[in-house]
Symmetry: C2
Subunit: 393 residues, 2 copies
């Protein structure tokens, strides 16, 4: 039988995410290609105890249908944290719980993007966002990233001349580069968005993973009406529980609710209830401190090994998050490196899928949150071995 | 600030689902409008024990990222049940886990529907499907339901003349009518789909809720290449855990994986693992028998009360599931009934949103799975009171 698929499928890039998750399950391969939080940092005992308490106190509610907006106490917790940590005026009404923050990408594009609408992004930019947006057939226009954030003239030109449905960025410890926007660039982006009535979609999956624990002000702080933020407990507590959220102005939340309900009715009640119980009965701050310390140590170790073993490779030096980006000299090709790496049982992620408008052949992304110290040492040595054997484009 | 939303939002019908879920939380109202399984039938203790076992044995895996396809042992369980219960040739490769079966509706439309593509549906048809499909801007064409299933000549004409992307139906204990397809109509639908290469999307959320426990053969059994089935544990085990699935031919599964990954990466690992543990360590057949017995008793009670209290209202007599449909005489209007009912603190669901091409003003849906015997008696008496006061169109 001949199956006819919708034209939107033609617009989608070849997916790397599935291949990545599959790689991460092969025990022979030391993978710097994925984006898993370190398994040993997941507080299994704490979450187990939270789950037991939920079953004891509110099992029936946690297993029944609920409303689309999400578990109110969890939305209140998230709003209170925005208020206390960042001084924003967030309320639970402006927050919706989602299946990880990936669902925010899909549904935001669903409510804002018509075919051929321009969507602005960083170059390089998060490949999961490129994939999610692509099914709504936008024209993705990118702004090059500097060490301070998006190149502000290009950003301004994009907002003024292209009228994008929104600009998507990751101001804190970006995926893939690990770069953060400077405070000045955040303010400039906000000013430009206010002036042009451009929505700034601020993916803050990594904000809690600042090595120094210091909160960075979001772009939304300087342009509340323009700001859509998403957040996630996947990097800090547990990815398998699939709890993210969107924080957006009322008119956007209203449309978000409508498409969310059609998409899958409502978030997982059991996961939400356990997550809220965990956050409010365990030492979340202490947990975050532990995670930050380990990731900072891993990041420094990886940077030092890169400097020692691959001195002609440029790399970013993140102040948080889970990723850094490496750039090779002399036309070396990251797909060739990828293949050479697999022969050495190490995996890196070629940069190409992060470049929605093409390019990035000389870059690759390294994750430093998954492997422990010993694996990083061994893996970086394998990478150096592979690098010596890999060719140019 | 002026927000500009995508044109697809204009295509969406006003949603009733959110209003329904909200109503179901008002303790003053006896609601026959929603679709909740009876809370007291949820096996909280069993699921609690399954959760405890999961945390003890595989907590780290259950809380980490995973692959898009879903937890393999759960997919194998579902495939084995299709093989043993219905004699289908299902394998885990053809099954994907979703956030309830609602997500199957959204993602199937996403891969198959271009704007203006025809989608076939039953009249009346499930309103959650109408909502999910609408965001992909199809032309929905409906086939009237008889007591045996869709009127077969109209079904055949639709498949032959309109080349629908797919036909969506609920052969077992349909939502909203409670009607089931006869075996002959299932075979005729399958034959017509094979001849016209039409995909038959068979929503089987209620198949396990046959009062007599007897499995009905799906349309897919007679047209495997045309058949896409979805199923759910929401009606049988727990809606709050959000576990449904799709069972489809390989080429469709491949596209489904791509859009699923972009939509929210992968299903909830914790929920899937607990569900699998529950199904394999508890007496699922015994649990299903209890649920079926209660729902059958409720359904008969409701039918009897309708016959006694509202003798001029026609109603279907379901052999399973959770819903029946009532049709009023003399141009009585179900929106007027809805308003009259709320004054009496009882809720029914007007039929209008189930009619994608208009109509249904004289119909309303009654749910018999949520309320207990006492509430049904009280609620039906309130309904009779409201009925006497409600007007005509």
């Amino acid at each position: 039988m001949d199956y006819h698929f919708a034209r939107r499928l033609d617009a989608a890039p070849e997916s790397f995410l599935g291949r990545l998750f599959a790689l991460s399950r092969d025990p022979e391969i030391i993978s710097f290609a994925g984006g898993l939080p370190m398994t040993s940092l997941i507080d299994v005992a704490g979450i187990r105890d939270a789950a037991a308490a939920v079953f004891a106190d509110e099992g029936e509610t946690a297993l029944q249908y609920t409303t689309t907006d999400g578990y109110l106490p969890l939305r209140e917790y998230i709003a209170a944290r925005y208020r206390s940590r960042l001084g924003l005026s967030a309320t639970a009404d402006e927050i919706r719980i989602t299946n990880g923050s990936q669902q925010c990408l899909d549904l935001t594009a669903k409510i804002l993007v018509d075919p051929c609408t321009v969507v602005g992004m960083e170059r390089p930019g998060y490949l999961g966002a490129i994939e999610a947006f692509s099914y709504y057939q936008p024209r993705i226009k990118t702004v090059p990233m500097t060490e301070e954030g998006p190149e502000i003239n290009a950003f301004s030109t994009l907002c003024r001349e292209e009228e994008p449905a929104f600009f998507y960025g990751i101001p804190n410890f970006q995926n893939p580069s690990g770069t953060s926007y400077s405070d000045a660039i955040r303010r400039e982006c906000a000013k430009c968005c206010r002036e042009t009535e451009t929505i700034f979609y601020e993916d803050d999956a990594f904000g809690e993973l600042a090595f120094d624990g210091r909160p960075r002000m979001p772009v939304k702080a300087f342009a509340p009406e323009c700001g859509v933020m998403s957040g996630s407990f996947s990097k800090t507590v547990s990815p398998g529980m699939r709890i993210g959220w969107i924080y957006a102005p009322g008119p956007i939340i209203e449309k978000f609710d409508a498409v969310r309900q059609a998409a899958d009715l409502h978030p997982n009640v059991l996961s939400q209830t356990i997550m809220h119980r965990y956050l409010t009965t365990h030492d979340y701050e202490g947990h975050l401190s532990r995670v930050r310390r380990v990731y900072e140590t891993n990041c420094r170790q990886m940077c030092d090994l890169l400097d020692d073993l691959l001195p002609d490779v440029f790399h970013t030096t993140p102040e948080g998050g889970m990723f850094m980006l490496a750039t090779m000299p002399d036309g070396k090709d990251s797909m060739a490196l990828f293949d050479a790496c697999l022969k050495e049982s190490v995996a890196v992620l070629p940069g190409v899928p992060f470049y929605a408008e093409g390019g990035g052949h000389d870059t690759f992304r390294l994750n430093f949150s998954t492997a422990n110290e010993e694996m990083i040492t061994e893996g970086m040595n394998r990478l150096a071995q592979a690098y010596r054997h890999c060719g140019c484009r």
